[in-house]
Symmetry: C2
């Protein structure tokens, strides 16, 4: 078409310019040549543009794909599942991947049965149904029926690729639900904002720091270099000299508490464990596991340990050493026990040198050092161990924690284990070697300054949330040093689950982590306020009074709102 | 240049063809036009070819890069480290990534100081040196000096990208060392042969199965669907009905043993723990942690529990229930305690209903069901719990394990923890949600049949290794049901470390896992035989006698070789 037009145009130009005089033939030939060459040029140009755009499109698609993969570490099934892979990738590019964008909530509770129908399984001649209603339900919902059953592969699965396709489909669906769930998360102190794309290259290795981090075992695929780097960083943060500390990277906050309390018990075998009643449940578990005498101490309304009660109880047990769990941020209210007052109480009750202090700093252990007015957690005070979670403020794909203790205490605990060519001072034997690399990566990128900035942001946002809750007439409390906003428990369990709020009695909490932005808070507030209208708008049912939990001044119930 | 040449060529053609006659001017013009249009055409063609090749090259590079990334899950740092990223990727494409290919061993022990020089750090006005020699060394080598120090980022790091580049370089170097170390690994029962590329897409999420796997907590980013699928699979394997089992995915073999023994103690609070002296060290640790009475039972040369000694010790403590740890594969010799004989001994000693059996099946718990002659581990026998490691025979990037126990026992242990909306029956609180997905993925792909094949291969290869060791005059033993080959401890510690052999006294072992191929075994054998010549070739020093550990018939020392 373009060629034809060019020819007509060439002829027209020729007629107009040269008229019908002599040299018509030659002129016509010249014009024809010009016309042909022009056509050729245009053709070339079109081909060029065509090739350019087609390749650019490929390049563009590849760039998009790669950017997408980079940003979400998205590597897809190998082998036969490739077909599915690209279509999944494309659909994700179309909008599903961006966590900060609005994601359509899944139509209802994610039902895996849509993918995996409960298959009747025959094994050893016995037919077994997947559905199972008889299991005892203690609290929450029983999820046994909600499982991705593992079926024996067919003999020809390698050829048909059906199995790979099935698994890829389960994973893609699961991933989508994770995106949605991550977006609507507020209740647990997990920083969900991290990017470890750079570390995917290590997923291929079975990294195991079995045994002591400071003594290399014979197993070579470890990450002790990173682990020790991370431990040094934390020891510096809590001001314990490199020659005087020992520590390791644990699997979670519970392991830190189990370790701290165990070391305490080994140092003082007949010591009594003291902890406030708002301590993490792992502290009570430790007492039971270790068969220790345990004394529960009362708390103030804020959630802090009540040092008057602590003193009374210490004086009742003067003959035995004290092993004290100090909460650097309680689980529910984010209350920080006053470390200085705890030490003072111990000393004035006559426990000089006869006490061991473990600081459970699961979340705030890493935030407190960056809050100016906070009482300092430091080994310059007579404390013995500090634990902090790695998946909380730092953010990590799997739970992990950091445990720092005084080296002199460890020699009491450790046994030599020749098999490992290492001493046995950790609770777990094999230890996840990926976690230290995740932590190392984030600490290196952010540094002390980076954390300080994030802590400030969280505290600011927490205040924003608390202020707006109170403005809207919703009972709420925020401890001064905390980013945990305690509020009245939403009436509807569906709402609680949608926002994944942690609840206890009539209260719930939102933990403002670095990934909880003002936008997210506004979104939550708007939804809560709207929902409350439907719960309490009729004037018949009323919001609960939670003055007992958060104090009268923070309660907005009909009695205290006046 | 091309244009100039075309013009000259055009003029030459014009001179030759038309001479210097009439219409020279017109002809010359025509030729000029032709020449110009030709030049334009050639130019267009060159541009087209140029664009085509340049884009093809980009596409080719992208394809290669993506294929490479897909195959090794290699995603690189974002942001400023991109420059480094491509060069790393390219160098990896050049051959470093294939685990099965020969990898040049690193020049010597991997020294991170090449990258990270020990920097003197100033914090709070105190100058601290990284090197530290005063730390107590118990066994093995102290690795505190071998650490990747975390330095505070410079203010302009975001702009210069130096930090990203530094981290990318550390990671690339580390990855290379992991490849080398993975290649030369024989001593630990970890299957290093896995490909979880399909799961990298989930690394972006903080997946946490906190609390009980069967009761959904409010935290929505979990993987209970996968966990319960895996648990069901194992319950089927060990023949415990879905309504009668409880279990969870642990962090490692130690957690399994800690859990099994704790449940035992809760069922029989005054029970005595019995375990053979070759049990895993975590069993002894549990006894100490839980303050339990503990009786150590003797073993046979094979490493199995000595039931005669067991009976004697039971009869001394008839008044108290027995909590028995049965080894389904001991750590060092891979010896399998005879479960049937243990039960028989208990019953004939009068412990009817007064015993609790925990089976520590760290490695062999998953292999045994596929070995025909092996005594069966099944809940149809009066056992109470079984634990197995996930990172061992299955293969997993991080340690994990599976714990299966009778549901009725769990109700003794569990406490309600309202905070989690879950009962507390696990040792750890927060639990790695990625591990269940890894296990689910492998179990689904391989199935019971796939594992059976791999078990057979391992046993075959283990026999191959043992036979060739004995043929070469090297003391070696292989228990009938095991893939753990026990051999004389190599004299040179450098050799032990190179092959990452686990050692105890004069013996070492090689655990033949699915990734230990005949080629790898041959490579190891050749190196061992050659090294032994240099150790013992002079006739002065002699290989140790290890008849006490493995029996006279397996010992090749000068005394028993006759």
């Amino acid at each position: 078409m373009a060629g034809g037009q060019a020819e007509v145009w060439g002829q027209l130009v020729a007629r107009r310019k040269f008229g019908d005089g002599t040299f018509h033939g030659i002129r016509y030939q010249v014009l024809c040549i010009i016309s042909i060459s022009l056509r050729l040029n245009i053709l070339c140009l079109l081909i060029t543009i065509g090739i350019y755009f087609s390749t650019t499109r490929v390049a563009l698609r590849n760039t998009l794909l790669m950017a997408f993969r980079r940003s979400c570490s998205d590597l897809f099934p190998v082998g036969n599942a490739r077909i599915r892979e690209t279509s999944t990738a494309r659909s994700m590019i179309n909008g599903a991947m961006n966590l900060s964008e609005k994601v359509e909530p899944l139509p209802e509770e994610f039902d895996p049965k849509e993918i995996v129908s409960p298959v009747a399984l025959e094994l050893n001649g016995v037919l077994k149904e997947c559905a199972d209603k008889s299991r005892e339900i203690v609290l929450g919902r029983n999820v046994h029926t909600m499982c991705y059953t593992i079926n024996e592969p067919e003999a020809d699965d390698d050829i048909t690729g059906e199995r790979e396709a099935y698994m890829a489909s389960v994973l893609a669906r699961y991933r989508k639900s994770l995106i949605e769930r991550t977006k609507h998360h507020l209740g647990y102190p997990y920083n969900l904002d991290f990017d470890y794309g750079a570390l995917s290259q290590l997923q291929h290795f079975s990294i195991n720091n079995l045994g002591d981090p400071f003594i290399e075992s014979n197993y070579g695929v470890h990450s002790r270099q990173f682990e020790v780097g991370v431990l040094d960083w934390f020891a510096r943060l809590w001001e314990l000299d490199k020659n005087e500390y020992w520590g390791y990277i644990t699997n979670c906050g519970t392991e830190g508490n189990l370790h701290g309390i165990l070391v305490g018990r080994e140092v003082f075998p007949d010591g009594i464990l003291y902890a406030s009643r708002e301590s993490h449940y792992s502290v009570f578990k430790a007492a039971r596991m270790y068969r220790m005498e345990f004394v529960k101490v009362a708390t103030l309304v804020s959630g802090e340990i009540d040092c008057a009660d602590f003193e009374r109880k210490l004086l009742l047990n003067k003959e035995k050493p004290a092993i004290v769990n100090v909460n650097i941020g309680t689980t529910v209210k984010g209350a920080v026990d006053d470390l200085d007052m705890v030490i003072e109480t111990l000393e004035k009750s006559g426990f000089r040198d006869q006490f061991y202090i473990h600081c459970d700093g699961a979340l705030f252990g890493l935030m407190m050092p960056f809050v100016k007015r906070a009482p300092k957690v430091t080994f310059k005070k007579p404390i013995d161990s500090v634990s902090v979670s790695g998946h909380k403020f730092v953010g990590c794909p799997m739970p992990c924690g950091v445990q720092i203790t005084r080296l002199k205490n460890i020699n009491v605990l450790s046994n030599n284990v020749e098999y490992l060519a290492s001493r046995d001072a950790t609770i777990m034997g094999s230890r996840n070697g990926h976690a230290p690399i995740f932590l190392w990566y984030t600490l290196n990128r952010k540094g002390y300054r980076g954390f300080q900035k994030e802590v400030q942001k969280c505290l600011r946002n927490a205040h924003y949330l608390k202020d707006h809750l109170l403005e809207a007439g919703i009972s709420a409390m925020l401890n001064e040093l905390s980013s945990t906003v305690v509020l009245e428990r939403p009436k509807d369990e569906q709402f609680v689950r949608r926002w994944q709020l942690a609840c206890e009695g009539n209260i719930a909490h939102v933990v403002v982590m670095p990934n909880v932005t003002i936008e997210k808070i506004d979104y939550f507030l708007a939804e809560l306020i709207k929902s409350r209208l439907s719960w309490y708008g009729d004037g018949e049912s009323k919001p609960p009074c939670i003055a007992g939990d958060i104090g009268e001044e923070n309660c907005c119930c009909s009695r205290h709102n006046t």
